[in-house]
């Protein structure tokens, strides 16, 4: 078809107008399609250098091991620093409070610092970055992250300031050999944990029926995980303390009974590492803690119970069935001058490949659902099917155990002392009441400013 430009007919003009209109409508679609088909440009920030603050753990080791590959892909240089957990938290708080943190990317423990990060406006909202096709590779597939971890990372205002790349579910490790020797089955309810522990408790042989954290602060997640069995957390959705309710006292009594009557001597000073050592040496029948501590249990150079470890989902309580959930996120500092390059780092380090590498290395439970569907990784893993069943089973009933408040550390300290006193013989209800009265003004003050 041709149009005579000198003497256009009415029909040719109409045809031309229709063609132009159609082109105007279709062209963005064509462009978008063309962009979608074009390979994602990882090199657009080549030559940039970014600083990263990480917590010292096996997951950060994996990230640092992948830095070379990231730099080859993007041309972005990375200077990452791993700091032990407690000190990393302090560093993050102080640097973010300064308004000019020395790092562009930081990892945080959502179960401790989530609200603090929101209040202090530490991180960028990642939602616009995820939606921007020029900044986010199509294979990133954010929808792959589990609904639970994403909900945990999302702030009350709907912003998503970190990617929840690691999740820790609380479950029960148990010594199959000890269970079989006494013909005992894995507990079906929380109350049954105590009866099963009592049957397996054998101090004469140096075997404790149950072990869990007794050390102040570290012990609060144990109590909080038991409390989930009553269908409540330590605070109500509107932020009121539920720590001296009959449900909280029930969880405290169960905690006391398990530790005082069936725990090893000295467990009042045990943190996770003492519990792990005791269990790993075959000195405890059950251990309630995070699934992220499993790796050394299957290491013959460290453990005497390789191949004998059972992995059980935390049993249901009287009113609900939940597994305590804890998570780590990684985000971009709001004060960073290199936010887009930092986003490339975050998406690379939380990609499907990296999450599978985490699972393969036994470095913890990934936040992505697809990692658990990687049959090759699962079949080659030193952990058996039961471990993965426990992971998936826990994920289905996961619920945040620690309160989503600003002074989490102070909460853990105050209630940790109450729980330690309870193991020592103090009255649970009186201790929790006293702790609640001590902590209530701290919580109220934290919500004011």
């Amino acid at each position: 078809m041709t149009i005579d430009l000198d003497r256009p007919s009415r029909r040719s003009l109409m045809r031309g107008a229709a063609a132009a209109g159609a082109a105007a409508i279709v062209s963005p679609l064509v462009l978008r399609e063309a962009r979608a088909q074009a390979p994602f440009n990882w090199k657009r920030f080549a030559g940039t250098s970014i600083d990263v603050l990480l917590v010292k753990n096996p997951r950060s080791d994996l990230m640092q091991a992948a830095e070379k590959e990231f730099t080859e892909l993007t041309g972005i240089k990375v200077s990452a620093e791993q700091v032990p957990e407690q000190q990393q938290r302090q560093k993050a708080v102080i640097e973010f409070a300064s308004g000019k943190p020395s790092f562009d990317v930081s990892g945080i423990s959502l179960h401790v610092q989530k609200r603090m990060a929101a209040k202090g406006k530490w991180f960028e909202d990642l939602t616009p970055y995820i939606k921007d096709a020029s900044l986010t590779a199509p294979e990133f597939d954010f929808a792959d992250f589990g609904a639970g971890p994403v909900a945990y990372a999302r702030q009350a205002d709907g912003s998503l300031d970190t990617i929840p790349f690691f999740v820790d579910y609380w479950m029960i490790y148990y010594n199959k050999e000890l269970f079989e020797a006494k013909g005992v089955a894995f507990p079906k309810t929380m109350d049954e944990i105590a009866t099963v522990a009592a049957r397996l408790h054998d101090p004469a042989k140096g075997i404790a029926g149950f072990v869990s954290r007794g050390l102040k602060n570290a012990n609060v997640p144990v109590w909080a995980s038991l409390l989930l069995g009553q269908g409540i957390e330590t605070t109500s959705p509107d932020g009121k303390l539920l720590t001296d309710t009959p449900e909280a006292i029930w969880a405290g009594e169960l905690y006391k009974k398990l530790n005082k009557e069936t725990g090893p001597a000295g467990q009042v000073g045990f943190n996770w590492n003492e519990c792990q050592t005791t269990f790993m040496q075959g000195r405890a029948a059950m251990w309630l803690d995070g699934i992220g501590f499993a790796t050394p249990l299957e290491d013959p150079s460290k453990s005497r119970i390789v191949g004998k470890v059972g992995y059980g989902v935390t049993p249901p309580g009287p009113k609900a069935h939940h597994a305590g959930m804890f998570a780590d996120g990684i985000g971009i500092s709001r004060g960073s001058q290199k936010k887009q390059a930092a986003w490339l780092y975050v998406q690379f380090m939380t990609s499907k490949a990296q999450q599978i590498a985490m699972l393969k290395a036994g470095a913890g439970a990934p936040g992505r659902a697809s990692a658990y569907l990687d049959t090759q990784t699962i079949s080659q893993s030193k952990f058996g099917k039961q471990y993965f069943d426990c992971l998936l089973g826990s994920a289905k009933v996961a619920r945040a155990a620690l309160p989503q408040i600003i002074p989490v550390t102070e909460f853990r300290d105050v209630f940790g002392v109450a729980l330690t006193n309870a193991i020592g013989g103090a009255d649970v209800a009186a201790e929790l009441k006293k702790a609640t009265e001590t902590f209530a003004p701290v919580l109220a003050k934290s919500e004011q400013g």
Partner: protein
Amino acid sequence: MTATTLPPVVGAEPAPPASARHSVDFTPRYWLFAAPAVVVIAAVIVFPWIFTLYMSGHDWKIGGGPEFVGLQNYAELFRDSRFLESMGHTLYFTVLAVVLPILFGTAAALVFHRDFPLRGLLRTIFVMPMMATPVAIALVWTMMFHPQLGVLNYLLSLVGIGPQEWVYAPGTVIPTLVMVEVWHWTPLVMLIVLGGLAGLPSEPYESARIDGASDWQMFRHITLPLVWPFIMVAVVIRTIDALKAFDTIFVITQGGPGTASETLNIFLYLQAFQFYKIGYASAVVVIFFAIVILLSLLLLYARQKSKWNA
């Protein structure tokens, strides 16, 4: 020799002694020499102190702004049962961690002052704990204290003693931590006292022997009085060190079980770096500093007195 006395000049001020003249010379040409020291002291001692005092008068959390509260932080501290309890723990720990190394260190010095085979080698071995890094030794002791798997309970079982809970029980935690402190710092006391013993004159001992004094009498009436100033130096150093003790306690117990080993330093650390209450923590620092200064002055006075009496 005859002395010549000059008549005083009418209306002139009496001349100050030579030393006083030098001490009050503020001639600008000397300022340059004093300036570096003044700047350094102002920056690293005076300013932090003034700023700590300033912070202690404010309700100040990291991430928030300061709000002036006057002496409220101090008043709150003296109502805080955790703070008062931590003062008691600090005192208990300090007394044991000073007295025991002084006793053992002095005894060791008396032993190593004598001549016996392999004395040099044994003295070197004895001094070795002092060279170890506190955090490293704290980790090793933590493993040894484990109630089920620790080597200490195994050793006790060999001599028929039942397992102990060491740092894992509120009743035994501070004495056990003191045990680590004694192991670590007794060699320092031994070296200080040994230095004192090496400088003692031999004449008093010779006279005492002629007079028929026993070994105990010579120790009680000659050695101890002469070496006492050195022991007092060790007491001052040990007291300051014991009051400051943080690393081993934090690594081994973190102040637990419960708050059973929470000393002032651990309490201070919690307030400042776990709860981020900078104002409140600064008030603890001010009180703690006052305690350290007071104790040090008392001990220095006692040391000076022992010198006068010697």
